[in-house]
Amino acid sequence: MLHFLNSVAEVLLPVGYVLTTFMYAMDFRNCTALSGTWKTRTLLATVTLHFLYIGMHTAEYGRCMVTTPFEIMSLIAFTLALTYTILELRTGERGTGVFILALATAFELVSAVVMKMPGSGQPNPVLSNMGVGFHVSFAIFGYAGFALGAMHGVMYLLMYRELKRGGFGSVYQNLPSLETLERMTVLSSLVGFVFLTVSMAIGIFSLPVVYDNFSYHDPKLIATGISWLIYAVMMVARYAMHVDGKSIVRIAIGGFVFALLSMTLVNAFLSDFHRFM
């Protein structure tokens, strides 16, 4: 029964994410009665379904959802969607939804595709170690924070361009102020930075224990270190040097692009011991 429900949810979730993003996009372009009324309800239904799915999946397999690429990407999608839902319900800000949910949908779709690949469901036994489990979980929250920061950064640049050009279209009408977008970029990136820092600290202690071939020269460690440095520079620039918002969001976007590309390349071609999938 649980397996059947999980299978149904695995089909429904990507559909739910695509439908929700479509409704937010419709509403962003031109508010219609249908999208205006149903978009938040569809979002809530999708996030609730995702939450139930995480619970059912954990119950079926007897472990947390951090052991396969499919699970990790799905968890990132959930983190993004849940964070946005909380933001929307608390602040009433709906203009940013289409951007964040598009990212969440991308992660969920990739997750759904990866899930169908042969052997993708095999968990790495290393992840049964408590320390490594926390290390991976914190890293996921960290990268989700960076993703959220980058999306707000993209919105900042779009709004900046619209204000400079004097287009005053959908972007001008629907997005919050530049100052708010800058604050959201910095806050999301800061949360991501803290989580990544904790994840790295845990990793430094727990990874040498579970891997015999542990090395500080591992490409993934180096790439993560560079990502961490980029965000550290961003925080210093923002809080100590008071660098302007536009430069800050450029660092946030650059940091996320670097983290995403480096992780993809390193996971695919270079990483030695440091692979969980």
Partner: protein, 429 residues
């Protein structure tokens, strides 16, 4: 029958509209003086863009022309011509009031201030004693329509005046205007208007500078703002997040180099510059500087145009709400036709009951008389109830309702000459 006559921005120029603008006292006097003779129920909506009389005439002799004549008597000395007045009858009149309340008939489309003005018109009419059952429903329905249009459509969204659009622009850059420092360059009419709008939006740090220092002091005193000497404002420019310039200078008063130096000092934090002057006060090249947002009157006008276009796109949605509510009103209004028949039917039943009670009064124990009275009344009420509900049931058209009423009249043999006008029985209840 419901009439609507009057002048508005579609039918008359502002010179005509302003001379027929009526104060609350004038409206009260007019309504009190004519209720019962000219009309049974009436209300007047008088704003800067319209003076409109809605009325249920007192008798068949009163028509739209007569109502216009009475309105014109309020301003006998003015040249109000027939072509300045519109005339709407019944469905058109009801629909018009709903459109007015929904702000789709407003000069500035979506200007929701009209909703409170319609509400005020209703209150003045009610205080004057010219509102009965029909106008209560009419005005309540129109206000409900206005509220629905406001909440269910985006017809009132977006600034449509220069000063509001300028403030809206500021809120798209800064999240909190309270803590922002604003400099107004020029203490003329435009500068003063912009200052007032910004203060109304919560700006707390406002400075004014003007070539004639005394003028700046006068405006600053009035607005409780700071005064900055004109010759020293270029060196203090970096302290301000928003600069509004509206002088009558023929050469730019804020140059590229001034802004460049200011941006360096303020570490490139965003600076909004609004140039509301013609010819322009701010060198247009400052917009090339990063984080400087320079907007002149044309740019602000394009925001307004865009907002108005968005409002126009909402008209079909607003109109469908108006249609829905007008239909609801007439579904209720049509049932008023049944009121005289119901009253007559009840009276006939009561006559039968009283006659039978009189016949048997001597045969009934005096101690039980009250109980029997009550019992017979209850029986009559129970017998009448389904007939009354059936007759008042909402009809899709007036002919269906009329034939239903006629059936009841034939069945119970109710005479035609006792029918009173339905509106008369509807009003004042």
């Amino acid at each position: 029958m419901i009439y609507a006559v009057g002048v508005n921005h579609h039918t008359a120029p502002v010179t005509v509209r302003e001379c027929l603008h009526l104060s609350d006292d004038e409206i009260t006097d007019f309504l009190r003086g004519n209720t019962g003779t000219l009309f049974r129920e009436a209300g007047i909506v008088s704003t800067c863009n319209r003076t409109e009389l809605y009325a249920v005439p007192a008798d068949d002799d009163v028509d739209g022309e007569r109502l216009i004549t009475e309105l014109r008597r309020l301003r006998p000395e003015k040249e109000l011509r027939d072509e300045h007045f519109f005339r709407l009858l019944h469905c058109g009149a009801v629909s018009h009031l709903h459109k007015v309340a929904a702000a789709i008939d407003s000069q500035i489309l979506g200007d929701m201030q009209i909703l409170s003005q319609v509400k005020h018109a209703w209150e003045v009419a009610a205080d004057s004693g010219s509102v009965g059952n029909v106008f209560s429903h009419l005005f309540m329905g129109a206000l409900h329509t206005g509220k629905r249009v406001r909440s269910e459509t985006a017809i009132g969204i977006g600034a449509v005046s220069i000063s509001f659009a300028a403030v809206e622009l500021a809120t798209k850059i800064f999240s909190d205007l309270h803590r922002k420092h604003v400099l107004i360059v020029g203490s003329g009419e435009t500068g003063a208007l912009a200052s007032r709008h910004l203060l109304a939006k919560g700006v707390e740090h406002l400075s004014i500078t003007n070539r004639t220092y005394e003028n700046a002091v006068a405006l600053a005193d009035e607005l409780r703002a700071r005064v900055l000497r004109f010759e020293s404002f270029p060196v203090a420019l970096h302290e301000y997040d928003i600069v509004v310039s509206a002088t009558s200078a023929t050469e730019p008063v804020i140059t590229y180099d001034m802004v460049k130096a200011a941006m360096r000092k303020r570490q490139n934090r965003p600076l909004l510059m609004l140039d509301l002057a013609v010819p322009r006060d701010i060198d247009p090249r400052v917009n090339d500087l990063g984080n400087v947002f320079l907007k002149d009157l044309d740019a602000i006008q394009s925001i307004i145009d865009q907002n108005l276009e968005q409002r126009r796109q909402e008209i079909p949605r607003a109109e469908s709400i108006v249609t829905e509510e007008v239909v609801n009103f007439f579904l209720w209004y049509n049932t008023l036709e049944a009121a005289p028949t119901i009253a007559q039917l009840r009276e006939k039943f009561e006559q039968v009951r009283t006659a039978e009670m009189d016949r048997f009064r001597n045969k009934i124990d005096p101690n039980s008389l009250d109980t029997v009275e009550m019992l017979t009344k209850r029986i009559i009420n129970k017998l009448l109830h389904p007939t009354m509900v059936g007759i008042k049931k909402q009809a899709h058209d007036t002919s269906e309702l009329s034939s239903r009423i006629q059936l009841v009249r034939d069945l119970f043999d109710l005479s035609e000459d006792e029918i009173t006008d339905r509106s008369q029985s509807g009003s004042g209840t």
